[in-house]
């Protein structure tokens, strides 16, 4: 059976105790495309992402990945995941060892030379060669972000989900980041990015999910969305910003 969607989410609800973080969320995503998730802070974006990748187990509804149930899929294969950055505390771990975490399932009793060379190649592909022996907290925010991306893609995932990866990056690094996303997409990966960079969203993304707890709008083009929708979501008209941006 050929499956049409790489990710199917139906009626997904997740709570933290009494707090309902996301309610009855449903959407379907196609393979090999680039999607963005937008929405206000506290809107449940991180919760949604954590539920899909397997961090949050306590949810109602259905998540199917390439036609399999979430748990069945993640037992066989990792979903690439780049967490939302919080201040990195000091921890005595080298960059190479952080990347190797992504190959942990494959290691058996210990990491082998092929794991090291895979991790090194991934670091190189992200312009981080020479940084492998640094400690993770000795890097700048942007470099650390790329290490997290390296850890996510080192296992060659079919789906890569990144939670606000461009926060704190200057505009040049942001542009670099989105061209990296395009490379991933061209290699056949499905890429999902949680972001507030609505400007880049319209230029690069194949689909946009707007999440504010219960409210979900799924559009394939930002221009499909009425301006007052963004006004309601963010408190200002994003489309106005977009049109300005495109000039």
């Amino acid at each position: 059976m050929k499956c049409e969607y790489c990710l199917e989410v139906r009626g997904l609800t997740a709570r933290y105790g009494e707090i309902v973080a996301i309610k009855d969320v449903s959407f379907f995503l196609e393979k090999g495309k680039f999607y963005t998730i937008v929405g206000p802070n506290g809107g449940g974006k991180s919760t949604l992402v954590k539920t899909i990748v397997g961090i949050i187990d306590d949810y109602e509804g259905e998540i199917k990945i390439f036609g399999k149930s979430r748990d069945e899929y993640i037992r066989e294969r990792l979903i690439g995941y780049v967490p939302q950055m919080s201040g990195m505390r000091k921890f005595p771990i080298k960059v190479i060892d952080v990347v190797l975490m992504g190959l942990f399932r494959d290691k058996g009793f210990r990491f082998k030379p092929k794991h090291y060379s895979k991790a090194m190649r991934t670091l190189e592909s992200l312009g981080l060669d020479g940084f492998e022996s640094r400690l993770i907290h000795e890097l700048s925010g942007g470099q650390r972000q790329r290490v997290m991306i390296a850890r996510a893609i080192v296992s060659d995932p079919e789906i890569l989900i990144m939670d606000e990866p461009t926060v704190g990056l200057d505009s040049e690094s942001q542009a670099k980041f989105y061209s990296l996303v395009r490379e991933f997409k061209e290699s056949g990966m499905t890429v999902i990015v949680v972001t507030h960079d609505v400007g880049f969203v319209s230029e690069y993304s194949d689909g946009i999910l707007c999440i504010n707890k219960k409210l979900v709008v799924h559009a394939t083009d930002v221009s499909e969305l009425p301006e007052r929708f963004f006004t309601k979501l963010y408190g200002y008209g994003v489309k106005t910003v977009l049109h300005h941006h495109k000039e």
């Binding site: 954590k50 990748v53 397997g54 961090i55 993640i74 037992r75 990792l78 979903i79 995941y81 967490p83 921890f91 005595p92 771990i93 080298k94 060892d97 975490m101 942990f104 399932r105 009793f109 400690l135 850890r151």
Partner: protein, 268 residues
Amino acid sequence: MMDTGIFAYDFGQIALIGGILGALSTALLGNVVVLRKMTFLGSGIAHLSFVGVGLGLLIGVEPRIVTLVVAITSALALGYLSRKGIHEDIGIGVLFSTSMALGIILVNLSKVDSSRVMAYLFGDILAMNWNDVKVLAILTAIILTFIAVFRDHLVYSTFDEDFSKILGIKISVIYYTFLVLLASSIVLTINMLGIILISAMIVVPAASAMLLSRTYQGMFKLSPLLSTSSVFFGLILSWIYDIPSSAAIVLIQGLAFFFAFLIKIFGK
């Protein structure tokens, strides 16, 4: 030449082997304690264990069995609190001193010889027997295996719990196993070092190793080395100057930390 005469005696050999086994166990688990920033755990378990000592002496059951039960229970409880984000705060400080007071009252009620109580408080490594060493050897073997197999699991779930979950690491099972092993190693080394000094054995070698080595891999190699050599030199020191051996061991560990600190500051 150093005067190593102490090791010519049976009690000296028992102390050396027992001490090294205890040092290995506590130092290896101590790395996890230090990386997780749970340094209150060691002294907490030891203080709460004193209630077990008092209870055992009072009801006439081998104190170490009662202590083991109390220690494991408190390790699981403190570990649970720590995971919920409750760290060294006033409440926990009050709990520790209150349990110590309760222990003293229980011991007093049991009317045992006060030298036995002193051994629990300050330790008496020279009073160990071969049976103690055997039990300690079994526990040390279990802890060495646990660390050899699960070191990365423990480190990953400390560094990034969410990602460990994605990797399928059974975070809770490993964490609570670690706590049970820590409580057991504390109970089995209490009669060597005493309730007051045992937390040093857990925290200090790992803290020194963290200063001296950049990576967690280095910590796991260095801290057992620092810990076991401080037992060796501590015993010799206590023999030469006729001072309490547990205090001598901890003093050497403290000096090692001080030098590690100096190296860290001036070595760059």
